[in-house]
């Protein structure tokens, strides 16, 4: 009877550790991407930025914690419904309260400003779209000695402009050179700062999916809270119900792999539903609530299916039952 009592505390411990590690990594990359060119890293900077970083990593931390506590529940099984209720309740309370309480401090954290310095360092060649540029000097909004190398240009691929203005927004950098006509160089840069933290394509897709989920949940916080509660519940319900996957075969290693790929898949599924399907739903139905909560409804339905699968087909003691003598 000790294990059910321990489970919530173990879960909380895992959650705190996961949140701390993920928030710290988020803080490091945010500083490197946005502020390293202008602000040195300091404890004060970290304290200022941390609430927002925790807010942004809370959802993946909760999902990760559910997966990790699942390993423990599978190794030390007790009543699966009690386990499900404990994990569901604790993760739901943490997620809802965490996002609600962190909303204001996160809003008070300085927003990461997308400055041109993030993309350009003096005397460094930077790829922007198909072209490459370099500047001799850069200040907040102006650049001097702009060199452009455009492989498609003839007769000379190099062009030089004495000075110009520079702006960056949503990952796109735009340089407007002085003179008539005003040449405009615009595109997504791939350079030193972003290059340092550039993820591989699989990790980039994962980060994108997490970003979609967090942004949607943050958006729901600004509307009626009932919608936010429902969305949070659907997410933790699906993840908790997925713990059944840890008992789907008598080979725990395979179960873990299935569980991990499922958890990863939920993020992609949410991104697909929210970005691709939800706009079609919004056009087809007049009720905005249906369109907004469509991904959550799918999650809840999937959760119910997994729960039924667990009840009907998966023995509670699958790991213990087949344990070698």
């Amino acid at each position: 009877m000790k294990e059910p009592l321990k489970a919530p505390f173990v879960f909380l411990f895992i959650l705190i550790c996961a949140t701390f590690v993920l928030a710290l990594l988020n803080l490091f990359s945010t500083w490197g991407l946005y502020d390293s060119a202008a602000t040195p890293f300091s404890f004060a900077y970290a304290v200022r930025m941390l609430p927002r970083r925790i807010f942004e990593t809370l959802i993946p931390s909760v999902v990760l914690s559910i997966v990790l506590i699942g390993f423990r529940l599978a190794r030390r099984p007790f009543s699966r419904f009690l386990g499900l209720l404990i994990v569901l309740a604790v993760s739901y309370i943490v997620l809802v309260n965490g996002m609600l309480w962190l909303r204001l401090p996160a809003a008070a954290s300085p927003t990461v400003a997308e400055t041109p310095r993030r993309y350009l360092a003096p005397s460094t060649l930077v790829k922007v779209g198909g072209a490459t540029i370099s500047v001799r000097a850069i200040s907040d909004a102006s650049v001097q000695g702009i060199l452009l190398f455009d492989p498609a240009r003839t007769p000379g691929r190099f062009s030089v402009y004495a000075a110009g203005t520079i702006a960056a927004s949503a990952g796109v950098m735009t340089i407007t050179a002085a003179g008539q006509p005003q040449p405009v160089i615009s595109g997504t840069p791939a350079l030193a700062w972003t290059g340092v933290f550039a993820p591989d394509r699989f990790t980039a897709a994962f980060l994108r999916d997490i970003g979609t989920l967090t942004a949607d949940f943050e958006g729901l916080l600004h509307g009626p809270l009932a919608e936010f509660f429902a969305a949070c519940f659907s997410l933790v319900f699906l993840c908790t119900a997925s713990l059944a996957l840890l008992r789907i075969t008598r080979w725990p290693l395979i179960n873990i792999m299935v569980m991990v790929i499922a958890a990863r898949g939920y993020f992609s599924l949410y991104h697909y539903l929210a970005v691709t399907i939800a706009p079609h739903i919004a056009r087809a139905v007049t009720d905005r609530l249906v369109a907004r909560l469509f991904p959550s409804a799918v999650f809840s339905a999937l959760g119910v299916l997994l729960l039924l699968l667990d009840i009907l087909f998966i023995p509670a003691d699958r790991w213990a039952g087949g344990k070698p003598a």
Partner: protein
Amino acid sequence: MKKSLLSQIAPYLLVFYGLSLAAFFAYALLTFSVNQYLPSLRMGYSLDRAFVLFMDYLIPVHAAAVAVAASLAGREQARLGAPAQRFSKIVSSTLVAFLLLTVAYTALYEGVYPRARARLSDMQYQSRLAQTYRKQAAERTSAGDFGAAIDAIDLYLAIDPGNKEMAEQRLVVAGKAVKQPAPAPAPSVEGAASAEESAEALIEKARSASARQDWYSANYYAQYAASLDPRRADAQRLASQAENMLSAASGSKDVKTSELFLQKRQAYSLLMSGDPLAAYYSFIDLAARDPKDPDITTYLAEASNKLKAVTFFVEDARKMETLPGAQGILFLNNNDAEGTEAVYLGKMVELTTGEAYFFDIEAIRYDAAGAVTWHFRAPYGMRTSSNAVLMHCISAADRKIQYLPQYLRGSRPEGDRNVLVMRPTLEELRALSTSRDALAVMGIAELWRLRTDLGSFGLARQTLTVDMAMQMLMPFAFLILSVLCVSLGWAFRSRHPGRLPFSNVLLMPLVPVVLALLSLLYLYVHRIIIGFVVLGFGFAVALVAVGVLQLALLAVALVLLAGQSAK
């Protein structure tokens, strides 16, 4: 347990390695694009691509093999009903094997992998070049210029020698070309004298030539000696004597000989007056008329030698163009308070002699105010053993063919117009290539040596540093994930006492897939930490931080392994 863990893991490793290599080879074979590569390169491409993919995903494949093997090892123990041994005894040989495998992985990652990637890039470039030659050949044939068409076909066949269609086309075009007058082949130039001789030695040679009544040589060596040491009156006297003898000799022959003599003298005068290009072509014409004339042979070689200091032959450059080399090299050649100089090189082909040929050169210089000082393009360039790149390119046989830098804006002094001094070494130029994953094909040692200099040529120094640190990390990642996967597999070993159900076998490919995603996340976390430390505290601190982190992770992995029970 009767068998050690290693003996149970080894077959799985071999099977997983073999299957993944086969799968990557099949993938490479199926995705081979005839638009991007010559069909004859299919097998070479597939092998190299399969190896590159294998190395890219070796960590998850290896981790999956280890995890599955460790996970199934306990099952066998139960089946045999063997008494449990201490876990440390079971895994000790496995740890040693992991260390050896890590060494092998590092050797492959640092030695073979970069070359395979470079070969893939070269294949792509050569295929593109071959397509260009094929197109050129078709165009020249249509235009009735069969000589040029044969040249293009020969260049194509140098890249793709087994192409029967092009070989047959060559026979057809060669048949047509026979009816066209062929340009005279360039005479071979041999026996050029060394330019590094003392005045005394040259005067000796002049005296010896005088004694043989070889007045050209006497005059040449004497003048050369006088130019090296103007105080040598004997050199000037000898030159003058030889000059007089030459003047006297010009009127003493029959008309034909006299004409030849006069032309030789004119060509010789051009050589002595510092116009080796005109002298070279004059001697080429003379050599075509009288190839056995020792004066012509000697001074053609001399003119050719002098030419090498200021120009090179387009025929040599075109031969080099078909060879593999770094492409799309872009860098800041000079960047100081006065101005910036940027250079683009379409392709570089290195020779073992330390020389290099460049193709499609463009350079620009602008001052601090952004005003362009000069801007030129040149089709060919050749770098001698010094840092200077010659851009005056001539034909060995046809004086009408000549390539010079075309100045789009501004100009440079006469002496510098056709020469560009490049700061980067050839090794650095290779790293500055934008189109061959230049940094990815560099080893740790190379990156370590070059990263500071490469930063001054316009590459982002932080990115280089982080890439280098990530390369250094790979062997550690291989070892640590190997140990962690033994723990993972052992902790979650199969509960099936008997034969593994087919459904489980079917799900087994999930293991490498999931571990690939997790290992990529593992590496990305390291990239964030390393990037943060490099940007915030510099490379030295990053190196220490990476070392400490790896030690800590290895310790955690070993503790987890030690915590496993054999029961």
